[in-house]
Symmetry: C2
Subunit: 144 residues, 2 copies
DNA sequence: ACCTAGTAGTTGCTTTTGTAACTAACAACG
DNA sequence: CGTTGTTAGTTACAAAAGCAACTACTAGGT
């Protein structure tokens, strides 16, 4: 193998981010996929509603940085699983308020536990300072 | 909006990783997509060959953690663009050595510049210590 | 030589995503 | 009232990813 020493792929931030996100994300996905047959976008919508309360699909798009078609399909899937209900807002019938059903909230709370355990297992490999820096940097990177 | 205060989505590591990876990755993708019509997996294969020298598709799979079908299709696409050539190894005709063509190497070197500039713009928002910690933690997370 | 098991890589089919066009509803202005 | 522009959400079609079955080849017995 001949190599080019001017660039180190292992030091390229987007590549590292992708590898880490893929590794952790796919392991975590297997949990909610096997338990509830949910896709990643469905999990995100569920968690947005569970963590931040009722909102419209548009709100989810803005908060999560997801395209509206993705959210639309995830909402349909969650509605079909009877995890949420849609209520047209009378003051503007274009919007619909999304609300978790009792079953949806139960699933959310169950998955919150899994998420906490999973996160715990991840962060215990690092010091508190490292985790603090990681979170700070990731949040900034996501907003750039 | 009613809310559940027991879990903070913004503190969940896989979610943060995903948001940061998505934000930076999609911006960077637009560069090589517009310049060379490459997909993310094609970019990765190109960079593996460019950075680490000739190898087989299997080697790329192992190093990059990609499924062989994804790599197979990326290799076909890069071959069609005349960015690489495949050479069956005489000692084991199941393997094929992948080699960048002159055009492939030119594209690689061009994109290395873009990658360096891009990375520079990312990391200049942070201190050296933060970047060092970030890289360390991301590498470990990718290997867990 | 033959049979079995395993590997590198491809192909076909299904699921998921991305993009753009669409519907329905509102708002502001003439 | 229209007409124009804008927004929330859906749908239809194309591109891409995931998965399983397949081909071609090698290796290791027997």
């Amino acid at each position: 193998m001949t190599q080019n020493d001017t660039f180190e792929l292992q030091g390229f931030t987007p590549y590292l981010l992708n590898q880490a996100a893929e590794a952790t994300g796919s392991r975590f996905q297997s949990i909610y996929k096997s338990k509830y047959g949910m896709l990643r976008t469905e999990w995100r919508v569920l968690f947005h509603l569970g963590c931040y309360g009722d909102m419209t699909a548009k709100d989810v798009c803005d908060r999560a940085g997801l395209h509206k078609t993705k959210v639309s399909r995830a909402v349909s899937a969650l509605a079909q699983k009877r995890f949420l209900e849609r209520h047209e807002l009378p003051e503007d019938r274009r919007h619909e308020r999304l609300t978790l059903t009792r079953a949806g909230r139960r699933a959310f709370e169950d998955l919150v536990e899994d998420a906490q355990n999973f996160d715990q297992q991840l962060i215990e490999h690092f010091s508190e300072g490292e985790i603090e820096t990681l979170r700070l940097v990731l949040k900034k990177l996501a907003e750039l």
